[in-house]
Symmetry: none
DNA sequence: GTGGTCTAGACCACC
DNA sequence: GTGGTCTAGACCACG
């Protein structure tokens, strides 16, 4: 299976962290289903054009979070995530991200109205964009 | 003049970066006015309980962004940025923060409605909180 | 790879600035090609007989100019700048240098004819010198 | 007498050095004639909006070069500069400036033809501009 | 007094 | 191995 991960070379964010964040999202949002076999470390690393050490670290970290399970000689699988856990995680993730953004707005003294207006515009753009792409793909 | 900077010792965010971010906010939000003389690097460092080198780096970085101007033997000043530039700077900062948050929402397949609801709740809480504090302070 | 940098110990020009200027020239003149891996800061510092901090500063400054790109744990690379950008960069550098020289001529009331004559003589000498050295080297 | 000095606040060049360079040019090019009384340190400093210490340093430096002469209680005068000295100085100054510019051209691998073309253009612009201004002033 | 430069050395995170 | 951060401390140049 092909795992859709986007690497941003120019970001200051460490490679392993970019991969972890995205893979975690894919698992928890259910886009990579429970029990599914992930690519081998070498295969994944080659696909991402990065070091095997980096992928190994990602698998280890997510395993220690309980999201993955490794079976010697067999491979790495997606562990079971309860619906309740999934929902709570999604919500927590979103809340954290939005709070950070609102804090930024507050720090530069952006008015409540302006912040809301900009937010609505961005949501409209990004969610609409996605729908168009889906429709286009049919 | 006393510059209100909050340092979080336990954060993974580098010291110099915390200071930079906050000082940048103070400048572009206009809370530190154009032409104002900032504390000397030694004085500031002592106040923040950090090395002079760290403060120097902050001043240097913000100077290379065009927000500060320093003259040897004289001190470091807030550079003159037009209101227009400041507004653009402010808007860009907010847009960037909100886009990151909405991207996060998209990545975990959060619905548009849920995202908006959570956002409104957070804004209400944070902006209201501020007002209460202001009223309480009177 | 060996980077040819000449340090002048006795100059009033700061060390880091000498290195920056020369390294910038090597990059924008295309002598160090796009994507090339530069020496590690420790290696470079040892070769230049200076502190790692000084080299680090050079790499950092050139990165903020967009000429270099560095990734933690991997190294520092020459950033991809288009030929167009490089040409503009080159031309700007030369124009700036020549304008400063002509301004000097004007400030001491040197006549247009004399200035041109001296310029031609210097160009002839320096460009010819270079060619002789190349021929001599064969 | 009003001494025409232009200070560039944004330059990294130290204040005293900017003043020295320009005053030296004015004296050696003969625009401030031999024996002329310069403004008092305080007066000059006030006119330039800088510290008296800075002007004092300028006068001292130029005096030690033999270009100025200070008489206790009387003031600072322009010392005599022989025509020969004046001519040699002018020439040396111009040569030094042009050599630096040509070196820059060489360092970025600018071709001889291009360098000459850019130079001619700049000379034409700057010398012509001056003449126009003179004519316009009449 | 101010900022500007450079050093040696430490510890951490990343690959 | 790589770069990233931070420290203490020195010395110089500027105003």
């Amino acid at each position: 299976m092909r795992i859709p991960i986007q690497i941003n070379e120019h970001s200051a964010e460490p490679l392993y962290h970019q991969i972890e964040t995205q893979l975690r999202s894919l698992i928890i949002s259910g886009q990579i289903g429970e029990g599914m076999l992930l690519p081998s470390i070498r295969e994944f690393a080659s696909g991402l054009n990065c070091s095997v050490i980096t992928v190994r670290r990602v698998y280890q970290d997510l395993e220690s979070e309980g999201l993955l399970r490794t079976r010697q000689g067999t491979g790495t699988f997606v562990a079971g995530v309860g619906d309740q856990t999934r929902e709570r995680f999604k919500r927590d993730t979103v809340i954290e991200a939005l709070e950070a953004a609102v804090d930024t707005g507050l720090s530069v003294h952006c008015s409540e109205e302006e912040l809301k207006a900009i937010f609505m515009e961005i949501v409209r753009k990004k969610y609409h964009q996605g729908k168009e792409r889906e429709s286009g793909g049919k």
